[in-house]
Symmetry: C2
Subunit: 316 residues, 2 copies
Amino acid sequence: MSIEEALATLGPAPRLGYVEGGFDRAALRRREPDLFEALARDPACRGYALCGERVLLAIEGETFSPLFTPAALSSLPVTHSVFLGLDNGAARIAVGVDPASEEALKARDAVKLIDLRSIAIQGLVAPSHLAGLAEAKALLQWHVRHRFCANCGRLTRIAEAGWRRECEGCGAEHFPRTDPVVIMLALRGDRCLLGRGARFPAWSCLAGFVEPGESFEDAVRREVLEEAGIRCGKVSYFRSQPWPFPMSLMIGCFAEALSEELTVDHSELEDARWFSRDEVADMLLNRHPQGLQVPPPVAIAHHILRAFVEETAPVF
Amino acid sequence: MSIEEALATLGPAPRLGYVEGGFDRAALRRREPDLFEALARDPACRGYALCGERVLLAIEGETFSPLFTPAALSSLPVTHSVFLGLDNGAARIAVGVDPASEEALKARDAVKLIDLRSIAIQGLVAPSHLAGLAEAKALLQWHVRHRFCANCGRLTRIAEAGWRRECEGCGAEHFPRTDPVVIMLALRGDRCLLGRGARFPAWSCLAGFVEPGESFEDAVRREVLEEAGIRCGKVSYFRSQPWPFPMSLMIGCFAEALSEELTVDHSELEDARWFSRDEVADMLLNRHPQGLQVPPPVAIAHHILRAFVEETAPVF
């Protein structure tokens, strides 16, 4: 099968996860006094519930819904609540549920408790929920890991409907954290560089956190050099994606590789090598002779690889 | 003067601040035991010294140098040290100096203590130092404000030559924080949207922090809508810049404005309005009839505006 036939088999580009269908965040409402009390009486308000890393889904026959009424949410052992925004005017909130209740929740018949990654990959809820769930997960998890003031060590309290924490001790204000991560496909002629970590079976783009005092173009060059020993020149931006595991922002890029010989950092990668366009097409179609895999469409790496195969990636 | 004459007057594009000339971060060396003791004996090692927000400069006749020998640094009341990387093979470090010694340092004849923003705008050091100073400032300041464990409240200790903090209490590891900020120029036909804050005299691009669970394209659209009431469609990436005030990553973009009528959020902006290409050219040349100003070349907003005037910005 030619690349052109392979592309036809691939069909239209799939949806990138966690991006489309986000709420109007209606930030001004975050400062409304007694917001959650008002929303508890709002018949249009609905919310998500997360227990640690897991999302609570209501079983509705063959399908699942992640949205619950304020009354249903208030029956749970809620540790903290956040205001997510408006969905066509209807308020959306999210609550964190005491992790100690995890086993009790799992035992309930009418609900399912499952991690967000599995929900996204298995398509358990309508794709339009993924952006809201990403917002909920990143924000709720930040609170769990940031209860104390990093400046003075005292217990802080939640403010602005979950968008701030404040310290009575030293007066410091703390805002939710988002960690920028570059994820890039280095290109050399008609081949691209993929790596495979020890923990995941798929071959994927290299990636790494942007460090303080670094542009992300520099972060791309540094990471490819550190992980694979390849020096890069030009860097071209593709698109970005929130990645709430726990609270990253993926910055997808292409990079112009200036060398070919690999020196793999085995503390970071199990392996890395160059792949042809044909081979990546086979991997996207799940028909690689050795069964090599790429990440699923929910991940930006899948879309970066598709752009490479479809030749919409830049030619350096 | 026509736009073309104005462009000729502008001359070649200035250097974007804090970006070029960064060090090889040599991340593997961060785990070397007794690294700072070894560097103290390394004749090629040099370092920056920061006291709170201010940088220590050695006065060398008419010029200034931000680099000191390990011996000179060790004579200061150092609170913490970080390893920045290698400059053509020579080690570069940075130290935080006890803020209580600020007045004593200011009184010394051979040195000058001045904030990084002024150093960049006044060109007090070679431009190649700005990337290293940005790395130093972002990293050192993070330690100052993150001495305690956000997870359990205990005092944490510095690890990996300044690139991590660890908590003996709960075992949590903490990594330097970088806050992604979108900074964007909304375009409508041949005009662009600028705002002016209460604190700064210059007219500039709108900007705001990327929130959890948000792509930066969505963050661009949200911020322009919140601050100016303008709905945006397509978003196009320009370039990025570390902005160590205290530890941001500026993500420069253009946005396609879909409406014109402004509703300014006066809690965020003193004013906002549409500007023509001619008017922005006058501002870049510092000859606007009403004396309106734009940010200096050290800031990415200057470069975004220049791309608009030079018509290298996208046409949506």
